[in-house]
């Protein structure tokens, strides 16, 4: 666990994360608009609350859409060895995970509408007790990796 894994995830992951951050920002935008409406219709809401909400909305949008995706992408690493999978992720808290192949129960690929737009998919690796994922791999890479892992994991499993 001294060296970080060497495989990077797809560069388009940044775009996908940015897009979903924009979408989430829309929710806060709606809340801001709501507070402005309430403020202008009734007078029980002090103006500073409206300012705070608006400020937080902008801040959240800037941070989640323009700062975090790049940092997150830079941190995300994975590497598949014959006997184990090695993953690193996390912006503030860096987590490195080792999953031995013989513990892998099944592997899935998953694709939501945003990932589909960028032709990406998420790889999910499940053990009996935990689930780990590698988000945003290119479609071919994800399905290749899925097949590769399930092949490697097919060794004789001793109970659980």
């Amino acid at each position: 666990m001294r060296e970080q894994p060497n495989g990077k995830i797809a560069t388009d992951a940044i775009k996908a994360w940015q897009l979903s951050a924009h979408l989430y920002a829309l929710i806060s935008l709606l809340i801001t608009i709501g507070s402005i409406v309430v403020y202008s219709l009734f007078d029980f809401l002090p103006i500073w609350i409206v300012y705070t909400i608006a400020g937080l909305t902008i801040l959240e949008w800037l941070v989640t859409a323009f700062i975090i995706p790049k940092l997150r992408w830079r941190r995300w690493r994975y590497q598949v060895f014959d006997q184990e999978i090695y993953i690193q992720h996390g912006v503030l808290i860096v987590t490195r995970t080792i999953v031995p192949m013989i513990r892998v129960q099944h592997v899935d690929t998953e694709q939501g509408p945003i990932l589909k737009k960028y032709k990406l998919s998420t790889l999910k690796i499940s053990t009996a007790a935990t689930t780990h994922q590698i988000p945003a791999l290119s479609e071919e890479e994800a399905s290749d990796l899925r097949d590769q892992i399930s092949e490697l994991a097919r060794v004789e499993q001793d109970d659980v």
Binding site: M1, R2, G90, L92, V94, V99, P100, A128, A129, T130
Partner: protein, 488 residues
């Protein structure tokens, strides 16, 4: 081997009735109370017998429609009054078979049979709520491994089997029975005391609303007139009662707690009123642990448990399975060597945390109270001592957690020691760890500390053993031990 479908013993109806009543009483009670308070007592008197008759009828029908039979390597169960459900359980899928008897079972010489299969879906498990002891034993032996069949065959002749199934152990198998003295110690020092106080308080608060106001006022006046000393004595008597109750509870629960080691499984029997048998196949055991509550620690006692992989989370049982309720710590090494020689007891050479981890432990234990101190200090400064004292107590816990934490690697086994309230020492084989994680935040990275998280499978979906703020070098050592490729 039977191939004809068989019904349960008719006493199963009694269990069905009791169970239905238990489930419906909470729903019916508010309705009944509403009826009575609106003067509908008459209708209630008519309704109750009808409901009772219906319940009895349904119990009879469900008994009538419930059949089981043994076929080759399978147990087939058919049940359901309107919707017929058929279930086939293959012998190979069965993880464990438990026989247990409560008072009613004992009166009729019956037993309850519970079959547990792998997987997280408890609905795939099966239970026969009442079969005769002979049938229960027969099913148990039929559905178990071959070895047991021969074992049971020899016992069948010894007649004792009918009433005391646990008596079947051959003398040369490792076995340990709890002493009455140890049982009393368990009861008198167990946490169930606290739980009982809680239940008592809750029950009192519920009953309180039913006591007529006048009576309540008079009693309150009388109690207050007694003076402080007598009130204190009364409280002490109540506490003493609860304490005795908790002793009684653990005596009833763990009476004759006996653990036996067979070749491939551990076998536990316990209970005074309700005899419980549990079979734990060794290959399902994920980790062995010992727990020391502060009180037990003071006297050098421990409680031994195992983490088992199984989908059985019904009856909100405890997460882990206790395999011996009370043991002297110095006896544990021998205990482990006798019953689970697959595990080693290695606690002497624990690698502890570095000094720089202490602030994290202290801060985590007091963070909320620190906030409380600040708030109370600003708004209610005369009462600041309350959160301050609490903060000191939890701070001591944080310090104790820091002192307790550590790990030791011993060939294929890692020993992890942590403390929440009780000190918890767990022995985990390398191949039982499902995944290993190392977490570091920015401060950790600056101070070269790291948190290690090891996940194993247990009754719920998994248990994580977390050692916080290890040295990075130590975390690397654990990773190297766990990983199949050796980084240099």
């Amino acid at each position: 081997m039977m191939s004809k479908p068989k019904r349960l013993h008719p006493a199963a109806m009694i269990f069905h009735i009791i169970q239905t009543l238990k489930q419906s009483i909470l729903g019916f009670l508010p309705v009944a109370i509403a009826f009575i308070s609106n003067g509908g007592l008459f209708y209630l008197m008519i309704a109750i017998p009808i409901v009772v008759v219906l319940i009895i009828l349904f119990s009879f029908l469900s008994w009538l429609r419930f059949t089981y039979r043994l076929e080759e390597d399978q147990l087939r169960i058919e049940r359901g009054i309107f919707i017929r459900k058929k279930r086939t359980i293959s012998k190979h899928r069965i993880q464990s078979i438990d026989l247990s008897q409560n008072i009613i079972h004992r009166i009729f010489g019956l037993t309850k049979l519970e079959i547990e299969t792998a997987g997280n879906d408890s609905s795939t498990d099966a239970g026969l709520s009442a079969v005769t002891m002979a049938d229960g034993q027969m099913l148990h032996n039929e559905l178990k491994y071959k070895k047991h069949v021969s074992e049971a065959a020899s016992e069948e002749s010894s007649e004792e089997v009918k009433t005391e199934p646990e008596e079947k152990n051959e003398a040369n198998l490792p076995q340990r029975k709890i002493t009455v003295k140890a049982l009393l110690i368990t009861g008198s020092t167990s946490a169930s005391f606290g739980i009982l106080i809680g239940i008592f308080g809750f029950a009192f608060s519920q009953v309180e609303t039913f006591i007529p106001d006048r009576f309540y006022d008079e009693t309150a006046r009388w109690v207050l007139s007694l003076g402080l000393q007598i009130i204190i004595i009364l409280c002490l008597i109540v506490l003493l009662y609860l304490w005795l109750l908790s002793i009684l509870y653990s005596v009833i629960k763990d009476w004759n707690f006996t653990i036996t080691r067979y070749e491939k499984e551990l076998f536990i029997t316990r209970g005074l009123l309700e005899k419980k048998q549990t079979t734990i196949p060794l290959k399902r055991i994920q980790a062995v642990g010992i727990k020391e509550s502060p009180l037990h620690q003071l006297f050098g006692f421990i409680r031994v448990y195992v983490e088992i992989a199984s989908g059985d989370t019904k009856n909100n049982q405890e997460m882990n399975t206790i395999i011996f309720p009370l043991l002297r710590k110095k006896e544990f090494g021998a205990f482990l060597a006798t019953f689970l020689p697959e595990y080693h007891y290695s606690v002497g050479n624990l690698i502890r945390l570095p000094r720089k981890a202490l602030p994290y432990y202290l801060f985590r234990s007091i963070d909320l109270l620190l906030l409380a101190v600040i708030v109370v200090g600003i708004f209610f400064s005369p009462y600041i001592w309350i959160p301050v004292i609490l903060m000191i107590i939890t701070g001591i816990y944080g310090w104790a957690a820091f002192k307790s934490a550590g790990y030791a690697i011993d060939e294929q086994q890692i020993t992890v020691q942590t403390r929440r309230f009780s000190k918890d020492t767990v022995f985990i084989p390398q191949r039982r760890i499902q995944a290993l994680q190392r977490k570091q935040h920015i401060l950790h990275r600056k101070q070269s500390l790291a948190t290690i998280d090891m996940a194993i499978l247990n009754k719920a979906s998994g248990r994580h053993f977390v050692i916080k703020e290890l040295r990075v070098t130590d975390s690397n050592q654990i990773a190297d031990w766990y990983s199949s490729r050796k980084e240099s």
